[in-house]
Structure formats: structure tokens, C-alpha cells
């Protein structure tokens, strides 16, 4: 290098830099083309509370069986990814019943507050917990307005192979991401359609011709605590929002 004029040295450096940049960027190009969560999609649910019978728990049972979160008969510490909430208007006596789960918000407070970034939103809108880096601080449980998260208080065995879960981490409804990635629908949707009132449908909120968009345009839907501005991906119809 010492004997050569500055121009040649400069050219060599630039060539090396360009090659390095190309090598660094090239895998990214292939990554973009790979499968995985598609940011053009936004998975969501639409729940028609008027089709929910008060004592029907088919969605809860299906979720529990699918993801394996049965309890230890300790209701205070057992996880509940989805539950049926019963409402009553004290002024009129009218009642509703509807399932509530992680609302898969567009601006999830749980993602904002997670100190390690374990609570994250996938490109297609599904909010998940990366249990590899969850340290079990439970701050997301403090932050969630919908009580969507549960902490795993006891040792777990016999996990489902597509739904890993372990003690000391936080978990919540995954919208059956393993089913969605395989082109299917969440377990609660399937069970409600076949054994319940057909109250829950799932789909791509971004698809104007999809089921959810068409029903939302026809009937008018709302979100729980929409005043918080979190824009949940779970829409409700026929509920006092």
C-alpha cells in the first residue's frame, strides 16, 4: 500500500466497502422474499355478542384444549387466555355475555412497557410474548387495560408442541398463530362455528373484501375502551362499548 498513489488506495477502499455493503445487504433481500408474517395483512377477530349465550364456554374450552393451559384448580393463579365476561346494565337490567382475550392492539401498551422487548407485535398485527427473553417482571400485566395477560405461576409439563409455555414467563392469546401461519383459523373461531353460536369470525382486517370488513361495514362495530386509542384488532358487535 505504501508505494501506490493515493487514488489507487482510495479506489480499493471504495471497492471493498461496496462489496461489504453488498454482502451485508444481500441476505436482507432474500429475507424479504422469504415466508413469514406478512406486514400487508392485519389479523383480527369480529365478535357478535348477540350470538353469545350466557352459559356457553365453547371458545374457552377449545382454546384451553388447543393451547394446553389447563389449570391446577387455583383460579387466582391459573392462566386464562380467554374468558367469558357477563355484563349487566344496572339502570335497565339488560345483560350481555361475550368472550374477552388479548385484543391485539395496534399500539399495545404491553409492548411499550416490556423492558426486554419480549412482548412484541408481529408484522401482521398479532401481539405475542417471546418467552426466550421474557424475564417475568409482569409489567405488561400491569399495563394491559384488558387483563389479557397471565403469568405462569407453576411448573408446566406436556406442553403442546406448537404452543410452548413455561413457568416464570407471561403468556396470552396468540390468536392461534400456529394455525394462522398454516392457513387456518383460531381454535375458538372453529369451535364457536361448530358448537357455539357462530359469534366469532377471524380474518384479515386489511382485506376490504374479507368477512370482517364486509360485516363491519354493514352492521357497525366497536372496540373495548376505544377511548384509550389503542386500536385493538378485536372488534365487537352488539356490546355496550
Amino acid at each position: 500500500m505504501n508505494g501506490q498513489p493515493m487514488d489507487k488506495v482510495r479506489r480499493k477502499v471504495l471497492a471493498c466497502a461496496a462489496a461489504t455493503a453488498g454482502l451485508v445487504l444481500a441476505p436482507g433481500v432474500t429475507l424479504l422474499a422469504a415466508q413469514g408474517a406478512d406486514s400487508k395483512k392485519r389479523w383480527g377477530l369480529l365478535i357478535d355478542a348477540s350470538k353469545c349465550a350466557k352459559d356457553c364456554e365453547v371458545c374457552v374450552v377449545a382454546c384451553r384444549d388447543e393451547n394446553g393451559w389447563s389449570g391446577h384448580q387455583r383460579p387466582a393463579t391459573d392462566p386464562q387466555w380467554i374468558r367469558k365476561v357477563n355484563l349487566r346494565d344496572p339502570a335497565t337490567g339488560f345483560t350481555w355475555s361475550l368472550p374477552v382475550m388479548c385484543q391485539h392492539c395496534t399500539s399495545p401498551p404491553c409492548v411499550d412497557v416490556c423492558p426486554t422487548g419480549a412482548s412484541f407485535k408481529r408484522a401482521d398485527g398479532i401481539v405475542l410474548v417471546d418467552k426466550h427473553i421474557c424475564i417475568g417482571c409482569r409489567y405488561c400485566m400491569m399495563a394491559c387495560p384488558y387483563k389479557g395477560r397471565s403469568f405462569v405461576h407453576e411448573k408446566i409439563t406436556n406442553q403442546k408442541p406448537y404452543a410452548p409455555r413455561g413457568m416464570g414467563t407471561v403468556e396470552s392469546c396468540t390468536m392461534c398463530v400456529h394455525r394462522i401461519d398454516a392457513g387456518g383459523v383460531p381454535a375458538c373461531v372453529e369451535a364457536c362455528a361448530s358448537q357455539g353460536g357462530g359469534a366469532i369470525i377471524s380474518g384479515d382486517l386489511n382485506d376490504p373484501s374479507g368477512d370482517i370488513a364486509r360485516e363491519a361495514a354493514k352492521y357497525g362495530v366497536g372496540r373495548i375502551r376505544s377511548d384509550l386509542g389503542l386500536e385493538p384488532g378485536v372488534l365487537y358487535r352488539g356490546a355496550p362499548l
Binding site: T77, N86, I133, R138, Y139, P145, H153, E154, V170
Partner: protein, 407 residues
């Protein structure tokens, strides 16, 4: 005040010292044992659950961290603001600040769902999270206080003590603010979601930190036979009164605002009237024992001269502070989340229900162990390094001291 006051190590050879050290070490060891027990069996052996996610360990650890940040105020008075009267106390103040913060930090680290994940926590940061940025503030504060103590103890570094003091003081302020915002940023809960949390926690940290400092100073001087004069006691008394009053002020503002906004009437009714243990702790613990009684003991003419009254006031401020944190942290979770405003709600996941909390032995031992670790650090450090002034008698400190007449 004609001579500078020397600082000297404590002898640390008395039976009382060793017994005390042994007791603290036993408590700290029990806390570690409790951690292993909780970690092995899962958090279901504690009173914390899916409704009350943060419990006693968080109350105690946040108290310790706040007290740590506030205990540095005494050092700041002399190092930053130039009140040389407090200069002999600066080293003890720094030591206490670092020790309390470390104790609080150890509790919160040991309470994690997986403390073995500490390495994970240190290598993955989401800076939008107040909890993550707080960890950096804690570490920064610890380093700054240590550096400050070094500038005091190394004669060649003495001229940098003002700069180091400013840095440590600002970091201490950011620690208290950060903890307040951990709660203040939570829009979900009716009892939080308020900017007043930040200044209120700064006031709380000053108050709790000074109260702990007063008790540690009085205890250390009394047990090592070093004189503690009425002059410095009077200064500390006035400061305690001011800080306790400011905390009471912010509490009043917080609840007045809640009472004005109809939206918050539910949670205000819960805390102020119908919350059972939370209402009791608020009025009896936080307001009466933690606010009104200490102010009376500090300012009433009959109690002004009594040293015992000041010590009692400091102890009361601590009890009141613990009550306040219990009401904020646990009371805020006990009140149910509001998903459907105006509706009566029930579910298998305790929607709409007030959530009870009963701490169990493992989590209580874990919490107290953190305090034990903090005081262990202070006790051992005082024995090996010069933290405690030889004398704080009026003759040495009071600039207007006149020896009592001979008659």
C-alpha cells in the same frame, strides 16, 4: 465552628455490633433461600397472582430505592448547595444512598419470574419501557454516588466533589421521577395514569430517605458513643417537616383531582372509603401516621426540643411511606380494571371484582432481606472506612455556638 470535623471508622467490636450483623446476615440469607424456594416452586407459593401481579416485594423494594435516592439529599446540601454545616454528613449520606438502592435493586431482581434471566435483561433493552431505562438510571446513580464518595475520600479529588455531587443528585432525581413514571405511564389503571406521580415520588423519596438517614445517624452515633448535637438535629428536623408536608400536599392534590373528575369517582371511593385495608392504610397509615403526626412532632413547641420526638417522627414517616406505597401499588391493582364503563361485570377471571392480597412468608422474607442487605452494607462499610463523623456536637458544628455559662 473553628475546626473541621474528622471522620473515623467505627470500632465494630462490641457484642451488639456482631449480634446485629449476624441478625442482618441471617435475614439476608433467608431472603436468598426464599428466592430459591419461590423460583423452584413457581410464584404460586406467594400471594401474588394474575390479579395482583406486583406485591409486597415491590412495595419494599420501591421504598428502598426511593429512600436511597432521597438519602443523597443530605450530601447534596453540602456538596452542591454549599451548606457547609452538613458537610460532615456527606459521606454517610452517600453510603446510605448507595446501600439502600442496592438493597432495593436486589429484591426486585430476585422477585423476577426468572432471576436467571438477569443476563437476558442486561442484553435486551427496550428503551421505550420506563422499567428498562430505570435500570440504567439505578446503575448510573450507583456509579455516580460511588464516584462522589471517592472524590470526598481521596484528598486529591476533593475539588471535584461538587461536580460529582451535582451528577449524583441529578441522577437521584431521575431515579425517583422514573419510578413515579413507571406507574404514571400506565393508562390502563384508574389509580395511576397521572403525571403527578413523578413529582409526588420525588417528594416521597426526599421524605423517606431523610427519615431513614436520621434514624441511621442517631443509631450509629448513640451506639458508638459519638456526640450528636442539637444544632444538626434541629436542621434535620426542619428538613423532615418540610419534606413530609410536601408529600402531604401532593397526596391532597392527587385525590382532589380524582374527586373532581367524575370518571375517577369509582377508584377514589375505593381508596378513600370502601377499600377495607387500603382505606385503613391510607387514612391511618399514610395521612395520620405518615403526615399529620410527624408534622405535629416536628413543629409543635412542646416537641421541638425533644430528640425522641424527632426519632419517632422519622419512624412514623417510614411507616406512613410504606403504607402509601402499599395503597398505590397494591390498592391500584385491587381496584378492578374498567373494560365496560358503567356496567356491572363478572367473569371467571375476576373481572369487576375487588382483588384481595395476602402476602405469604416467602415473599415477606424476600422483601425484608433486601432491607437487611442495605443495612449490612452500611454497617460493614462504617467499620472499614471513614464514614461516620467523630463528633457532631454543637461546639464543633454550630457557627453561633456559645458555651453554656458556668452558673
Amino acid at each position: 465552628m473553628s475546626r473541621t470535623i474528622a471522620l473515623r471508622e467505627i470500632k465494630g467490636r462490641s457484642r451488639g455490633y456482631w449480634l446485629g450483623l449476624g441478625g442482618l446476615a441471617l435475614l439476608a440469607g433467608s431472603a436468598v433461600a426464599a428466592t430459591f424456594y419461590i423460583e423452584h416452586n413457581g410464584l404460586h407459593v406467594t400471594g401474588m397472582n394474575n390479579q395482583i401481579a406486583w406485591g409486597m416485594p415491590h412495595v419494599i423494594s420501591i421504598f428502598l430505592i426511593l429512600a436511597g435516592a432521597g438519602a443523597f439529599n443530605v450530601a447534596a446540601f453540602s456538596a452542591v448547595f454549599g451548606r457547609t454545616v452538613h458537610a460532615p454528613l456527606a459521606r454517610l449520606s452517600g453510603l446510605l444512598a448507595a446501600a439502600l438502592l442496592f438493597g432495593g435493586l436486589s429484591v426486585v431482581m430476585l422477585d423476577l419470574g426468572g432471576p436467571q434471566r438477569l443476563l437476558v435483561a442486561m442484553s435486551n433493552f427496550n428503551f421505550k419501557s420506563t422499567l428498562a431505562s430505570n435500570i440504567l438510571r439505578y446503575i448510573g446513580f450507583l456509579i455516580a454516588v460511588t464516584a462522589f464518595l471517592w472524590t470526598l475520600m481521596e484528598p486529591r479529588m476533593n475539588r471535584y466533589s461538587r461536580g460529582a455531587g451535582v451528577v449524583a443528585m441529578l441522577l437521584g432525581l431521575s431515579v425517583s421521577t422514573g419510578i413515579g413514571l413507571v406507574f404514571g405511564f400506565l393508562v390502563a389503571r384508574e389509580a395511576y395514569d397521572s403525571a403527578v406521580m413523578a413529582p409526588m415520588f420525588v417528594a416521597m423519596s426526599s421524605s423517606f430517605g431523610l427519615a431513614v438517614f436520621i434514624l441511621v445517624l442517631a443509631g450509629a452515633c448513640s451506639w458508638t458513643g459519638r456526640p450528636l448535637g442539637g444544632f444538626i438535629v434541629g436542621r434535620l428536623r426542619n428538613l423532615l417537616g418540610i419534606f413530609a408536608a410536601v408529600v402531604l400536599y401532593f397526596t391532597t392534590v392527587q385525590h382532589l383531582a380524582g374527586l373532581y373528575a367524575t370518571e375517577h369517582h369509582g377508584v377514589e371511593r375505593f381508596i378513600l372509603m370502601e377499600g377495607g385495608v387500603h382505606t385503613f392504610l391510607f387514612w391511618a397509615g399514610q395521612v395520620m401516621v405518615g403526615g399529620i403526626l410527624p408534622l405535629f412532632l416536628v413543629y409543635s413547641p412542646s416537641a421541638r426540643k425533644s430528640r425522641r420526638a424527632l426519632l419517632a417522627a422519622a419512624a412514623m414517616v417510614i411507616i406512613g411511606g410504606l403504607s402509601q406505597l402499599y395503597v398505590i401499588i397494591i390498592g391500584g391493582q385491587a381496584y378492578p380494571l374498567v373494560l365496560f364503563p358503567g356496567m356491572e361485570v363478572s367473569s371467571s377471571f375476576f373481572d369487576g371484582a375487588v382483588n384481595p392480597y395476602t402476602p405469604t412468608l416467602p415473599e415477606t422474607v424476600l422483601s425484608l432481606g433486601g432491607a437487611a442487605i442495605a443495612f449490612l452494607i452500611v454497617a460493614v462499610a462504617m467499620k472499614f472506612l471513614r464514614f461516620l463523623p467523630e463528633t457532631l456536637a454543637d461546639a464543633a458544628l454550630d457557627p453561633h455556638y456559645r458555651p453554656p455559662s458556668e452558673d
